[in-house]
Structure formats: structure tokens, C-alpha cells
């Protein structure tokens, strides 16, 4: 496993509010796992915990077999040589006063085993820009002179400079136009094949995740509600939340009326409900069916679903028949 997370819990510094509540997941080398969820789900926090930007409360994070969650300097060193991140906002993720070339040289120089002569670095910058499809002339450009798509390419090039094996992609196409998004998604897929990269992708956009990822974890209020191969999770979802999310995604050939609309706001991590965190909005939960008080008393655990492959697990007391899409 390239990335292995066990019972990870994170709360924000200076507060007791638990934003990530004991999650576990594995990403095999060369694979792509997508973390999907709404605001407050904790998905971005998981990403930040993996790269050491926030300290976990408890639990372990292993990258390529080495535990990095504790934050020791050896762990951080290992982390930096194996893992990099591409951020959401292309405008804020590039240094405003460094040219593309300077930023890439800087990123390339951190690798101790790459020769640092002027010529070698120049070649390395070449290679990186080539990889992401940026023309040579962009070397002297500043970030503000580039379009959103171009900036994301630079961000990807920079992330690839230290030759990482694991890339965390945090909503990398959320700020881009759809046609540009398609180009970046295709680029990411190509790079993965070419460089044998492992991806952990975070997004709220289910269709994008379905395209990019081979496995999916659906998060809601800090816990994973459903996890499995993308085909399984999207094809035969077992959790009512997953079904509701999929239903909410606009699709061609459907009109407004033939769908259930999830009412209510996404819950607040500071005000965590007892039992299942989704119960206040769940269309088949205690609000709609008073007999289902188990949802109030007991937090459902992830349980493997029988019919599908061994990886598909759902955390629900009344999980849906996975062959039946209609709630």
C-alpha cells in the first residue's frame, strides 16, 4: 500500500471540535482513491493531515510503509520526498513574485540526489514543463500572467519536481472552466500512467471523481459512510447518503421533478448528533420512519456488503439493497 490510514482523528488546532472522526483507508501503489463529500465532511482535513499541515489527534498515517502522522523530522523528511500536493485555487498556490522557471528550479533543487548544476536544473525544468504541456516561453512568466488552467499545470509541474510517488489532489479542477477541467483531468490520468503515481483526490464533484478514481470513499461529518471500487459505489450505492448525493447531481435527460431532494443543511461538526451523523437528513432514517431509533442510539460501523466485491463497505443500519438504486 502506498498510503495507509488507520483510525485517523483530527480536530482543528485550538478547538475540541472533531472534524475527522476515526477514518481508515488504503490506497494501493498506482491507484487513485477519491474522497468525496460536502462542506464539513472533513475530506480536506484528511488531505492536510496526510501532508502534515495539521497534526492528528489520534490514529496513524503510513506513506510507503513509514508512519508520518507523528510529525517527527525523520517522518517529515520521508513525507516530503514521497508526497506532494496540488491545491485548489490556482491563484493562491503559486508564488506571486516568482517566475515559472524560478519556481520550478526551486522545487527541483530540493531533491538531494539530482545534480544541481545550472545546466542540469535547466534540463529538469524543461522536462517538467514538457510533462505538463507548457511551452518553453512560459519560463519567464509570472503567475498572474497565466490563465487558471496554465497555473494548475505549473502547480502540477512543481509538485512533480521532487519526484513524488503519492500526489494529493485537493479540488484541483474546482476553479476551472469545464473544458479546461477536461484537459487537466486527462493530463493527470496520463501522468499517472507514465510516472506510476498514486493519487488521493479530494472533491465535491462526484462526476469528476467517477472519471478520475478507481475507488471512492464517501465522507459525511468526519466519517466514511461508504467505501469501495468506483464502479460499485456509483453503480450500486448502499448508503442513503450516497444515493442522495448521486441524485442531487444534475444530469442530462432528467428533469427536476423526478428526484428526491435532500432537505436541510449539512450538519455542523461542532454539534455532532448521537448515533449516525446523517440521521437528521436521511430520507429513510428516524425522521421519516420513527421505528428506526437504532440510528439515534448506535453509530453504524462500516460493514462489508455481501453481493459486491470484498472492498465495498457501507456504514448504515439499514443499508440499501445494493442492486436497487431507487430509495
Amino acid at each position: 500500500m502506498m498510503l495507509s490510514i488507520r483510525e485517523l482523528s483530527v480536530s482543528y488546532p485550538g478547538s475540541d471540535v472533531v472534524v475527522v472522526d476515526g477514518i481508515s483507508l488504503d490506497v494501493p501503489s498506482g491507484g487513485t482513491l477519491g474522497l468525496v463529500g460536502e462542506s464539513g465532511s472533513g475530506k480536506s482535513t484528511v488531505a492536510r493531515a496526510v501532508v502534515g499541515m495539521v497534526r492528528p489527534r489520534s490514529g496513524t498515517i503510513e506513506v510507503d510503509g513509514v508512519e508520518v502522522g507523528a510529525g517527527s523530522s525523520a517522518a517529515m523528511k520521508h513525507l516530503r520526498s514521497t508526497t506532494q500536493m496540488v491545491f485548489q485555487d490556482p491563484a493562491a498556490s503559486l508564488h506571486p513574485r516568482m517566475t515559472v522557471g524560478a519556481a520550478l528550479v526551486e522545487a527541483a533543487s530540493v531533491r538531494a540526489d539530482v545534480a544541481h548544476g545550472q545546466g542540469d536544473l535547466a534540463m529538469e525544468v524543461h522536462r517538467l514543463m514538457d510533462l505538463v504541456g507548457l511551452p518553453e516561453t512560459f519560463v519567464d512568466r509570472y503567475a498572474f500572467e497565466l490563465s487558471g488552467g496554465q497555473r494548475q499545470r505549473v502547480a502540477i509541474a512543481r509538485a512533480l519536481a521532487p519526484r513524488p510517488r503519492l500526489l494529493i489532489l485537493d479540488e484541483v479542477t474546482a476553479a476551472l472552466d469545464v473544458s479546461i477541467q477536461a484537459t487537466i483531468l486527462n493530463l493527470l490520468k496520463e501522468l499517472q500512467a507514465e510516472l506510476h503515481l498514486t493519487y488521493l483526490a479530494i472533491s465535491h464533484d462526484l462526476a469528476v471523481m467517477r472519471y478520475l478514481c478507481d475507488s471512492i470513499a464517501v465522507m459525511e461529518l468526519g466519517s466514511i459512510k461508504e467505501i469501495g471500487a468506483a464502479d460499485e459505489v456509483f453503480g450500486s450505492p448502499g448508503h442513503p447518503y450516497t444515493v442522495a448525493l448521486l441524485d442531487a447531481v444534475p444530469q442530462f435527460g432528467r428533469t427536476r421533478d423526478d428526484r428526491t431532494v435532500l432537505t436541510g443543511e449539512p450538519a455542523d461538526p461542532a454539534d455532532r448528533p448521537s448515533g449516525c451523523s446523517f440521521r437528521a437528513r436521511c430520507p429513510v432514517g428516524p425522521v421519516f420512519d420513527a421505528s428506526r431509533d437504532r440510528c439515534v442510539t448506535t453509530t453504524p460501523e462500516l460493514a462489508v456488503v455481501d453481493h459486491s466485491g470484498p472492498d465495498h463497505a457501507v456504514a448504515c443500519h439499514f443499508r440499501l439493497n445494493t442492486n436497487d438504486r431507487d430509495v
Binding site: M53, R80, Q84, F87, P96, P135, E136, Y142, G148, P162
Partner: protein, 316 residues
């Protein structure tokens, strides 16, 4: 492929790009020149007493008249340039050093220490600078050095504050996180990523504070602090504040003499402010760079054809 990855040297053009920028640069040059040549050229006229020619009104040989000791007022103002500028510069340097370093340190350490530090700075900032300076001077020996230190110390929190807030706003941004993730050293992050991005506002602050320092120092020397007027006079004891003191004392007889130091102080403050603004602008690549595609945010002379072909040939 070009081997230069750095900035293009457009900053001179930006520096001189606005009317105030040009004025600022010119005035600064004049002031610095005066500071250098003032004492050698007019030093004698400034200190030579002539009790037969006291309190003369403005004339061709004494454009601003003479003071109570018969010394030429204009000469005194010109000679005073050096000391005034040096003292103000000294204060700003002290203030900026203390302020920037403490602000930067607090941001690097972060957390509770930063919060406590910020409170201390705010309290410090709340003290009226003149009062604080007087207190400090009372502790140190008299003399102009004490004034420089005192004003420097009392203005320092302003720089600390500005560094703290600018740096704090930058530190949370994604590109800083990206830099850390790359494993760049803390020094490099602090220097290139944080400081490098707030440098233009710091530069502007430094130069604009200069005027304030100048006024505060002149106020103190005007009030008689800094021990002067005893023994042998030279350029080391003449600054605009003490000249102003002179002029005010002789105001009833010689009202015109007040103009000299007052205007000098005002001009110096404005000159440094304009210069600082222009310098700050020139350090911001967004305002200086003319890109290959002809797109510059300052210039609207974007060449249309150049822009279109550059755009069309590149995959977004």
C-alpha cells in the same frame, strides 16, 4: 532557452513612471546632496556669529535673515539637513529593525506566543511616542543619540504590527504551504515566501514613517532635548528642530525665519513618502512586468496581434 529566470529590470521605469515618483526621486536626490555638501559649503555661514548683524530681515545676502546670534538662517537650514536626515534615518532604521524582526519572529513561532506578542505590541503602540521618548531620554544620557534611540524605540511597534498583519495574511496561503511541503528551509520560507511578498508594503511603510520620525525628532529638539547650544557649534548640533526653536523664539522680531525649517521638514516628509510609494510600486512585479504577450496591467498598449497569437498557440 534563456538562462535567466529572474525579474526583468523594469523597476526603474516604474520608479519614474508617475509624476509623484519623479518628484520624489528628484527631491530625495536634492536632500541627499544637501546633506552631503551642506556643512562644507555653508557650515561657516551657519556658525559664524556676528553680533552686529543680529535679527536682520530677509535680504539678498541673507535670504531668510539672521538669528539672534547673527548667523544666517538659510545657511543653518541647509546645514541642518544632514543632521536631521541622519537622525530621522537612524530612528527609522532602529524602529524598522526592531519592528520587522520581532514581527517576523512572532509570525514564525505563531500560536499563543504570537497572540501574546501581538497584545504587547498593541499596548506599546498605544503609548504616545513623544511621551515615551521623553521617558527614555530621561533614562539615557542627554544628547542627540538618545533622541534617535528613543524615537526609534517608540515607533518600532508600528513596524512590528505591520509586519505581523502582512505576514499573517500571507502565511496561510496555499503557496506557502506548498513551499513547506517541498521541504524548503524555514529561513527560505520566511525570507522568500513571506518577506518577499510583503516587501513592497514594508518599503512604503518605512519611507512614510520617515516623515513622522522627522517631525517627532524635530519636536524634541525644538523642545530643547538633545542638549545643544553649548560650547562649539558645528553641523553636529544644528538640526531643523533646533533652528525652529531659534526662529520661534525670535518670531516677533523675525517672523520670516520660521519658514525655513518648517518648509524643510514638510518637504522632506513628502519627498520620502513619494519616493517610498514609487519604490514600493517598482518592487511589485504585477505593476512592472511587460509580458511576452504584451499584456501588462499597467500599460494598456497591449499589442493586439501579439496577444492573439500568443493566446491561440498555447493549450490552456
Amino acid at each position: 532557452m534563456s538562462a535567466t529566470f529572474g525579474r526583468r529590470k523594469q523597476w526603474l521605469a516604474t520608479l519614474l513612471g508617475t509624476p509623484t515618483g519623479i518628484a520624489g526621486v528628484v527631491l530625495m536626490a536634492v536632500l541627499v546632496l544637501l546633506a552631503i555638501i551642506g556643512p562644507p559649503i555653508w557650515g561657516d555661514a551657519a556658525v559664524k556669529s556676528d553680533f552686529l548683524r543680529t535679527l536682520l530681515p530677509p535680504s539678498t545676502s541673507h535670504p531668510l535673515g539672521t538669528n539672534g546670534s547673527g548667523q544666517d538662517n538659510l545657511a543653518r537650514v541647509l546645514v541642518g539637513t544632514r543632521l536631521s536626515l541622519l537622525m530621522a534615518a537612524g530612528s527609522v532604521a532602529i524602529a524598522a529593525t526592531i519592528g520587522l524582526v520581532s514581527g517576523a519572529l512572532l509570525v514564525t513561532v505563531g500560536g499563543r506566543v504570537q497572540r501574546i506578542g501581538a497584545t504587547i505590541i498593541d499596548t506599546w503602540l498605544g503609548f504616545p511616542s513623544i511621551l515615551l521618548s521623553v521617558l527614555i531620554i530621561a533614562v539615557l544620557e542627554k544628547g542627540r543619540g538618545a533622541i534617535v534611540i528613543a524615537i526609534g524605540f517608540s515607533i518600532a511597534p508600528f513596524f512590528a504590527r505591520i509586519t505581523l498583519t502582512s505576514a499573517a495574511s500571507v502565511v496561510g496561503l496555499d503557496y506557502v504551504a506548498a513551499g513547506r511541503l517541498l521541504g524548503l528551509s524555514r529561513w527560505r520560507i520566511a525570507h522568500r515566501y513571506v518577506l518577499g511578498n510583503i516587501i513592497d508594503s514594508l518599503v512604503v511603510a518605512i519611507f512614510s514613517m520617515f516623515g513622522q520620525c522627522l517631525i517627532a525628532i524635530s519636536a524634541l529638539t525644538y523642545l530643547g532635548f538633545g542638549g545643544a547650544r553649548d560650547g562649539i557649534e558645528s553641523w553636529t548640533s544644528i538640526d531643523w528642530g533646533s533652528v525652529l526653536n531659534d526662529s520661534v523664539r525670535n518670531f516677533r522680531d523675525q517672523p520670516a525665519s520660521v519658514l525655513g525649517p518648517a518648509i524643510a521638514i514638510a518637504i522632506a516628509g513628502v519627498a520620502f513618502g513619494w519616493f517610498g510609494d514609487a519604490l514600493g510600486r517598482s518592487l511589485n512585479p504585477r505593476l512592472t512586468v511587460r509580458s511576452a504577450s504584451g499584456r501588462s496591467l499597467r500599460s494598456s498598449r497591449a499589442s493586439a496581434s501579439g496577444g492573439a497569437t500568443a493566446n491561440a498557440s498555447v493549450n490552456s
